[in-house]
Structure formats: structure tokens, C-alpha cells
Symmetry: C2
Subunit: 197 residues, 2 copies
Amino acid sequence: MKRRTKKERQQHLLQTIEENPFITDEQLATQFNVSVQTIRLDRMELSIPELRERIKDVAAKNLENEVKSLPLDEVIGEIVDIELDTRAISIFDVREEHVFQRNGIARGHHLFAQANSLAVAVINDELALTVRANVLFAKPVKAGDRVITKATVSGQNIEKNRTYIEVTSTVNNSVVFKGEFEMYRTKGKGESDETSY
Amino acid sequence: MKRRTKKERQQHLLQTIEENPFITDEQLATQFNVSVQTIRLDRMELSIPELRERIKDVAAKNLENEVKSLPLDEVIGEIVDIELDTRAISIFDVREEHVFQRNGIARGHHLFAQANSLAVAVINDELALTVRANVLFAKPVKAGDRVITKATVSGQNIEKNRTYIEVTSTVNNSVVFKGEFEMYRTKGKGESDETSY
DNA sequence: TATGTATTAGCACTTGGTACTAACACCAGT
DNA sequence: ACTGGTGTTAGTACCAAGTGCTAATACATA
């Protein structure tokens, strides 16, 4: 059926292309029962690029994402200062994708992930694993907040290959998260590799 | 400079296109100092599709990824069974992107995320936040492992709006992770909303 | 010298467009 | 009844980045 007005059709057009950027003008023309030229005029008015450009945009976004998601898998948050086996600081900007849609509060595991990543990073060893963690989520964190996390090595047990780390996260100097991490490592602080595995 | 052999050039071609799928035959021809036709023949022999197809492929992959990465932000692991305010079970397949490159062991925060997600999900409330967690990483988890996580509500403190949850994760019936979660919620188990916030 | 492989050139054709011109339909205002 | 504006359609020339095909040329090797 013919859409009543031009506006209605254009509204629909925007939505259709948003959902499926791979659609050609000809397919759109058939779908809306208008000529290909009308679709072209519509696209121009709405400044929607042609099929190939649309696809290229989607593809380009993909390459961006690859760059973005990789470090996200490696270390959560950006390490800004580190003194191996002593302390480390990282920054994590909370964005929309990290919070509950319902109330805008950051999901706990993102804060945990930042702390855990930092605890792993501060240990000067090839193999560092989290054995145990006691964490406290002191205050809700919202999208837009910049979380600054400090990890400090607080102790060691060389016989058990353990390192203890205290982690504190703050937003605007107010503590939002605290954690104690017990980490396993193959080698003691500053040791070379004669230590038994 | 001209590449010595056809094979060398084709090897290089594969690599170049892999790195930058947005390159045209003409650009490739200039780069390798051969004619456009030669590049076309090479692509045919190597069954490399034309520029537009390559871009389309990248874009299509992107749309797939969007669908994949969204639920990952919402809940880590797939919930297979749930009885609200009582217990819940989820499954999480550990893949390459979840493990340390160096030793193939899953990063702790992914296991924590699965447990935390499940603890939030089991609570029958609009607002559920993690207040505190004590977790133990009992055994390393590797890529390919299927982690089965069970969350059980173990207690409540109605005055303090707290719910306590025990979480256990196993791989092949062997415990790999245990956690106690203290959760904040606005309403008590089964209550309606007259409770104070 | 003949043969095979690699390379290059040229032409017709394809898709999915842009850019532009022209025609027509219809509705409102004067 | 004529004019004007908006919306729609048709048609043409052109473009990028190809495919598919034929033909010519170079070069080495048997």
C-alpha cells in the first residue's frame, strides 16, 4: 500500500535502513511502492548515504571495535602508574554498557574486573592467579564516573607462593570499592627461577 | 620493486588484503608493480573476493558481533534454570578471549562475573546490588571448559535489606570457584512495595 | 623452434549508485 | 481558468570497481 505522506514514508525509511543497512534503493522502492528516484530523493533529504557507503561504515566500525574490545579483554582499565611488586594505579571510565539499564548503577563485576586486572598486573611474574578475594562494594558507581583504583602489595608468604594485595577504588576521592586479594605466583618477589614450581 | 615469483607475490597479496580489506585492485597493482589484470588473476587463483564483497563480509561479521557482545554485557553466562529468591543455575563456556594468552588459564574476573550475574538474577527485585563478596578460585579453568554455576539463597536480613547467596562453580563436577555474596535489595523476599527504600 | 606459463591490454557488460533535466499530477490561491 | 508549489516519475550521462572473455606479448625451458 502507498504510504499516506512523504513524512511517514521517510520516517519508515530511516527505520528500515537502520535495521538493515544492506538494502538497495530498488528493494526499498518495491517495499514502499514508489519509484527508485523517490527513494533517492528521500535519502538525499535525510542525508542517508548510498548502500556501499553504509556497508563501508558498518565495516569500519567493526575494525574500531576490534581495537576497543581487545584491550578490554586483556586489562580492564588503563594502568597509569606501576611499580612492580609494590603498587599500581589504573583508571576506568564507566560507560553506559557497564551499568544496569534500570538504575544506571555499575555492575559489580566490572569494578571487580578492574581490581583483579590490577592485582595481576602488579605482580612481577609470568604466572599470577587469583586464589581468593574479599571485596566490598561501598558506594554505587554511575555511568560517567571515573574510577581510580590503587593496588598495594601488603604481604607475602614465600613457602605458599602467595602475595597479598590491598585494592581501593575511588570516585572523586570517595571510596567506592575495597578488596583484599590473595594471589598465587610461581616465583617470589625479585627471585629468579630456581624456585620450585 | 618487482617481486621475484608469482608465489611470493600471492603470499604477500593474501597478507596485505587480510590487513586491509578496503584496498582496491588498482592500489594493489601499484603497490606490487604489476598490472591490475595480474592482481585480478591472483585473486581468482586464491579465491579472494572483490573489494565490495570483502567489505560486505566484514560488515556482516560486525552485525553478528553486535548480537553477541550485547548479552555479554547484560548477563555473563546463560541461565538455564531459575527459581526466584531460591536458586539459579547458569552455564558459561570459556573461550580463548577469556584466558591469559601466556598460560591458557581463565582470568578470575570472568568467573566472578558469571557468579555475580547469577547472584543478581536470582534476586526477585528491581534493584539488586552486590555489597560484599568473598570468593575462592579453587582450581584453574581453561579455554574450552564449560563452567556450571549454582547460586543458592542462604539467608536474609530484612531490617538491613540484605540477601546472602552461596555460589559454587564446577567444571566436570569438580569445584573451581566458590563465593559468598552479600546483596542489597529494595524489597524483602516476596514483599510488595510498601517497604521503605 | 615449439610449448607452456606469466603477464598485460582491451572491450563489453554489471551493480548500485550520482547528478541533472524534463515531464506530469494534483491541490490551493487568486 | 490560470499560476505556482510540492511530490513523484522517467530518462540520460556518468562513475567506481569490478567480472568475463579474447588476444597479444615476453620469457624461459624442453
